[in-house]
């Protein structure tokens, strides 16, 4: 025990950071999500009472699991016997009990606990937005109000959504057995996909939504970092964390004063977060050594090349083109090909790029970026009439005012001689 009482902000942060491990362990113990969450709340209340007086415990996670479990068991017994037990006596024994418990709870337990907690949020019956909302509530501990603001719905609507989602995941088929290697890999993949969705909910925000939704990127990064700490040898998790960090590093440079999107080429690279870029690059370096390719690693490697260029002109487009080809091979998709076309236009010119994307017209007709990119290639080829048509189509398919504004800039440039 430290002599110095911890400051309230430290306690707050510690409780937030401990949440996934503690709720995960309590869920394994009680096999009931509601009860696990309540037990965590109880443990937090005790922590707020005890830690300022007695100093923080050596292992806050073990302390919270222990207290959450004991307090809840006590409630259950009380309800059964209608006979109260003294809480203080229970808690005074904790200091002795803490050390052996911490020793027993090694990484292997935490690892499957946290993975299980994240995995139950990925229930296939739940639409993606509900998976994310559930993860934010259960795993991150965000308030219903915070989540509702991020998803632009009322508190009561979000409350209902979360309650319904919790009902859907039910207790019946929650996977409590320790997973085998194959199952663990499958769970990791679902969880990674959900975390990337969560990240993108934050990353895709623009204008006034940025303030409420950018924190979702931080939460996604925090959970992915935790996941990687528990599964340190998974190259795709390294790739995912690297990708998130490299994209989020540009946050401050991505919007102008009006909240409009600033494209990569026009961003002030001095505003990019160098620490996040260093970490992202270090992670993709680690992942590549495994020689087990995967989509997140390819995307992270591409993002790392952009982040490493001191100016747009210094971007290593031939290498980016190669990486997109690799990504196309393992995950063929018209959107990936569209992205490769942008790299190809820098390497081989707009005509070659246009040839590459013209066959995608049917599949990508409803896609804003397809028409935007096509318009840009046509502009470069000085086919202005066709460019204008492509840009008009893009505006008609814009999902946000910021996207439409971006295309209007191109149209203005077309209009000027």
């Amino acid at each position: 025990m430290n002599a110095e009482p911890p400051d309230p902000a430290w306690i707050d942060r510690t409780l937030v950071c401990a949440r996934p491990q503690v709720v995960g362990a309590l869920l394994r113990y009680f096999r009931d999500l509601e009860r696990a969450e309540e037990a965590f709340q109880e443990a937090c209340l005790r922590a707020l009472g005890h830690w300022p007086r007695q100093g923080p415990p050596r292992d806050p996670v073990a302390w919270l699991i222990m207290v959450g479990r004991n307090v809840t068991l006590d409630h259950v017994r009380r309800q059964a016997r209608q006979q109260p037990l003294p809480d203080e006596a229970l808690l005074s024994e904790l200091d002795d009990a803490e050390t052996p418990l911490a020793d027993r709870l090694d990484n292997a337990d935490y690892r499957d606990d946290v993975l299980r907690l994240l995995f139950i949020c990925c229930h296939p019956d739940l639409p993606a937005t509900q998976q994310i909302a559930l993860a934010l509530r259960i795993v991150c501990g965000l308030s219903v109000n915070q989540i509702a603001r991020a998803f632009l719905v009322s508190d009561s609507a979000m409350e209902q959504r979360i309650t319904r989602a919790k009902g859907r995941i039910g207790a019946g088929d929650a996977p409590f057995e320790t997973p085998g290697a194959v199952e663990r890999a499958e769970r990791l993949e679902s969880v990674a996909a959900m975390l990337y969705l969560l990240f993108n909910e934050g990353y895709s925000a623009s204008g006034e939504q940025v303030r409420d939704r950018a924190p979702l990127c931080d939460e996604a990064i925090r959970l992915t970092r935790l996941l990687l700490r528990l599964f340190p040898a998974e190259p795709e998790i390294m790739g995912l964390l690297s990708l998130m960090l490299l994209q989020h590093a540009r946050q401050k440079a991505r919007f102008d004063a009006d909240g409009s999107i600033i494209l990569l080429e026009a961003q002030d690279r001095g505003l990019w977060n160098r620490t996040m870029i260093s970490e992202g690059r270090a992670l993709i370096d680690k992942a590549v050594r495994h020689r087990r390719r995967g989509p997140y690693q390819f995307q992270a490697a591409i993002a790392a090349l952009h982040a490493s260029a001191a100016s747009p002109a210094e971007t290593d487009w031939p290498q980016i083109d190669l990486l997109y080809r690799g990504l196309e091979q393992i995950q063929p998709s018209p959107v990936v090909t569209l992205n490769r076309a942008v790299a190809l236009s820098k390497v081989a010119g707009p005509a070659a790029a246009l040839d590459l994307i013209d066959p995608l017209a049917d599949r990508l007709d409803g896609y804003f970026h397809y028409h935007g990119v096509r318009g840009a290639f046509l502009t470069q080829l000085d086919r202005r009439g066709e460019a204008r048509i492509a840009f008009d189509r893009a505006i008609a398919r814009a999902r946000t005012p910021a996207e439409a504004a971006q295309i209007r800039q191109y149209l203005d440039q077309l209009a000027s001689p």
């Binding site: 902000a9 430290w10 942060r13 510690t14 937030v16 950071c17 806050p60 925090r222 970092r225 935790l226 990687l228 700490r229 340190p232 040898a233 390294m238 964390l241 620490t275 260093s278 970490e279 690059r281 270090a282 992670l283 370096d285 680690k286 050594r289």
Partner: protein, 124 residues
């Protein structure tokens, strides 16, 4: 005598600080480090990226490269090298060369830096 002062803390908690909170902590610490620097007593100061960015090279006949930080408790921290590397590949090479050159057991933990201030001291 030169002393190395090693910082330990919960990286989840420290990593969740906002830029403002982090700056406030650094500002408080700078009062101390500035005073040491003015007296010519401060050597290099650096901050490490999180342990998720760490790689460990275990010494042996074939130096083994493992993901993650050094996690044994039966060995102790004995020293630190600071090497300028193009990327992890070069860092691993340097560690493997060191491993070959030393006949003992043990590990090298490779941690990329997020911040480096060279400082200046006279030596022990």
């Amino acid at each position: 005598m030169l002393y190395a002062i090693l910082c330990y803390d919960n990286e989840d908690v420290v990593g969740s600080w906002t830029k403002q909170e982090d700056d406030a902590v650094i500002a408080k610490l700078s009062v101390v480090t500035d005073r040491l620097a003015h007296a010519g007593r401060l050597g290099p100061v650096f901050r490490l990226l999180p342990t998720t960015a760490a790689t460990t090279v275990r010494k042996g006949k074939e130096a083994l490269v493992l993901d993650g930080p050094f996690a044994e408790t039966k060995e102790q921290l004995l020293g630190v090298y600071l090497v300028d590397c193009e990327g992890l590949e070069e860092a691993v090479e340097a560690a493997q060369e060191l491993a070959r050159a030393s006949s003992t057991n043990g590990c090298y933990e490779l941690r990329p830096l997020s911040l480096f201030m060279p400082g200046a001291v006279a030596g022990p």
